[in-house]
Amino acid sequence: MTTDLAVLAEDLTKFYGAHRGIEGLHLEVTTGEIMGFLGPNGAGKTTTIRLLLDFLRPTRGHATVLGLDPRRDKALLHRRIGYLPGELTFPGRERAADLLRFFGDARGGVSWSHVTDLAARLNLDLSRPVHAMSKGNKQKVGLVQAFMHQPALLVLDEPTSGLDPLMQQEFLAMVREARAAGQTVFMSSHVLAEVQEVADRVAIVRDGRLAAVERVESLGRRAVRTVEIHFADPVGPQEFAALPGVKDVTVSGPVLKCTMDGRLDPLIKAAARHEVIDLLSTEPDLEETFLSFYYHAEGAGDAAAPAGA
């Protein structure tokens, strides 16, 4: 039990028949840190999480969670884990309050005022039946049940899906507070930005294998985004293509599209010379850009070295 690792995966492997879920995963999550778990859909994030929680049994390898064996110590372990499933379906058709009372009774030691505090924070009405709620509200119920017993380890699979931006910020605040209280957070996502905002480190999986484990600071520089600017009049591509960090410039009439690596400032300054009607800056899909960086670009980070080494 005296370990400073909340999660330790050693050669963790899961095959569904011939189909690979995850292979040879070595991963360490330190107690008290927020670890982001990134990868495109289908990369093996959910499989890994289900292995850690003993819903699935590994084909090979082993996981240790909070110093315990997921299968042998399941009862003890789940008292100390808060889990938010990626595909959230609630058992039964009762009101949110009744469902949460059930989880509270089953886990023990949950103060109801803490539950109502969490619900109030997330602006969630507990008197409504869960099955009739919107996706966002269901997600909030899922978050409340994951946080309600103040678990030592929070395992959150795509925690912000369905939440509006305001609630996403509230959620990120909850995660930071959890870290401040000494809890460990392991959260998966396919959106880099939200993980970047809170996580200490990120592990990146792709095609069932661990691609890299990096500290978040080292990711910041690689924040690539796509930018779309609508001008009042047609513009030429040449005056933007040469700007630092700007790539893939395409112009069709008054609309300019490009990708931007690094700070937006040079592009904004250049655009300001024209009359700007609209500006759109979006985080590109992780699959398209961020991960391709790890596979096709130079500094592959720790990708080559196993994280456990």
């Binding site: 819903f55 699935l56 049994r57 399941k74 009862a75 789940h78 884990i81 059930f102 989880f103 886990r107």
Partner: protein
């Protein structure tokens, strides 16, 4: 709280189905049992109209005596059909339903080992299935004296206990199939087919001389083939049914503990 929260939750989620089955089976027994005197006259006619083979097929020896009437109306076909269907659908809700609809992941966050989880789900469903299958017997405890049927109460109790044992037998099989497959349709198909086939085996063994041995493989023989309404208790036969139920249940818990859930 006296009951484990998971058992409580299972009942709450199934309360409509539970009330529906309880009301239905009670009503069924009341109507068939309560109207013995009215049916009696008609039954005499019906018995004359039907051939011996046909009566055997429906598990009917005679329709006129109280024992024959209860066997024909409640215990031979409709009673088991209702209580078995109830037990099978309840068992399909223990593991297969949450596994199919996705609610299983959150249910499994309840801090219990896999085996304890399975036992508690089973206990919740098993208690209801037992209660529902005991209802005909309980209702008859009132109906038999009230309608003045001339039959020993212990014989009625023996047959009713057989119905509970039969329900345990098929309930255990249904739980096993659900614990292994995690699929509701598989539970209904496999257990339903098994019940139909073994019912036929029981019937055929009674009709055709050469097929007499078939009865030994049919749970229905252990339940009603001993003619409890005329001969009373047959503990060995009932124990055989219970043993199948217990054995399949234990196997189901063990196999559920060993497999992946929700893939």
């Amino acid at each position: 709280m006296l009951l484990p929260p998971l058992v409580h939750k299972s009942w709450r989620d199934d309360r409509r189905a539970i009330l529906g089955w309880a009301a239905g089976v009670t009503l069924f027994t009341l109507i068939y049992g309560g109207f013995y005197s009215q049916f009696k006259g008609a039954a005499e006619l019906k018995q004359q109209a039907l051939s011996k083979g046909m009566l055997d097929f429906f598990g009917v020896t005679d329709l006129v005596s109280p024992a024959g009437y209860l066997q024909a109306s409640i215990f031979s076909l409709l009673g088991p059909l209702l209580t078995l269907f109830c037990a099978i659908t309840l068992m399909a809700r223990t593991i297969p339903r949450p596994e199919e609809d996705g609610g299983m992941e959150l249910l499994l966050t309840v801090p219990l080992s896999r085996t304890r989880f399975a036992w508690q789900r089973l206990a919740a469903a098993g208690a209801v299935a037992t209660g529902v299958s005991a209802l005909p017997g309980i209702v008859l405890l009132i109906v038999v004296p009230v309608t003045g049927m001339d039959i020993a109460m212990s014989y009625v109790t023996a047959a009713s206990a057989g119905l509970v044992a039969l329900t345990w037998c098929f309930g255990g099989i249904a739980f096993l199939v659900g614990a292994v497959s995690g699929r509701r349709a598989t539970v209904l198909a496999v257990t339903g087919a098994l019940a139909a086939a073994t019912y036929m085996a029981h019937v055929i063994s009674g009709m055709a001389g050469g097929w007499h041995w078939l009865r030994w493989i049919s749970p229905f023989h252990y339940f009603i083939g001993t003619d409890p309404l005329h001969t009373g208790w047959h503990p060995a036969h009932l124990s055989a049914l219970v043993a199948v139920g217990v054995g399949t249940t234990i196997a189901g818990v063990i196999l559920f503990d060993r497999r992946d859930v929700g893939v």
